[in-house]
Amino acid sequence: MEAVVLVVVIVMLLSAVAVLLFKDFLAALAAMSVVSLGLSFLFVVVRAPDVAMTEAAIGAGLSSLLFALALRRLGLWRGQ
């Protein structure tokens, strides 16, 4: 269990750094979702299923959607 948690934390922190370093905002957004999903896993580890569900739905899902919509309106969406 500890090994899994350690791996998730490392991936999460690396993605968090990547959010700030990626030049492409879409890639940064993807890294942000990875952070949210990792966080959601950690919430399960600390026995908070309600919070984990919320983080997955809001942090990884809804926030990313909001960011994506905004990036498109701001002209920072490279895939377009």
Partner: protein, 155 residues
């Protein structure tokens, strides 16, 4: 794994997220990155709040079929984090809406430029010369509109 028990790893994650978030806010100038930084900082603070009374071996604070566990996790921080996450998404949406309007008006999301243009607008409205700012970076003033955004997103 004596030094790296579960608790330590989780605390490192929480403080690490907060530190990375703060660096994002302090170092970058582009608004989107600052918003990302705030989101990371909030995520770290949420995790810290949940960890505040975390006990290894506790079960989730839910009773399933009359089976009352001996040790349940503390439900209070969970409720608090639930609240904080929802507040966070509300403010995030607001920040993004404002960002769209500000970019439409000023043509940039670089916060230093936004600040300069804001000063300019206030001064124009008041009918006075712009106060000389000591922080005014020369390179910024010369860069044409939009190009900073493209530099950030492109290449």
């Amino acid at each position: 794994m004596d030094i790296l028990d579960n608790n330590t790893i989780l605390y490192i994650a929480a403080f690490g997220l907060m530190l990375i978030g703060i660096s994002g806010i302090v170092i970058s100038n582009h608004l989107m990155r600052i918003i990302f930084g705030i989101a990371l900082l909030e995520a770290g603070a949420n995790l810290l709040l949940l960890l505040s009374t975390y006990h290894e071996g506790a079960s989730a604070p839910i009773i399933v079929a009359d089976n009352i566990p001996t040790m349940m996790a503390d439900p209070v921080p969970q409720a608090l984090v639930l609240t904080a996450i929802v507040i966070g998404v509300g403010i995030l949406a607001l920040a993004l809406s404002l960002a769209i309007r500000v970019q439409r008006a000023y043509g940039t999301l670089d916060m230093r430029e936004v600040r300069l243009k804001l000063e300019q607008e206030i001064s124009d409205e008041a009918g006075i010369d712009m106060p000389s700012s000591s922080e005014k970076p020369d390179d910024i003033a010369k860069v044409p509109l939009n190009s900073v955004v493209q530099q950030e997103s492109g290449s």
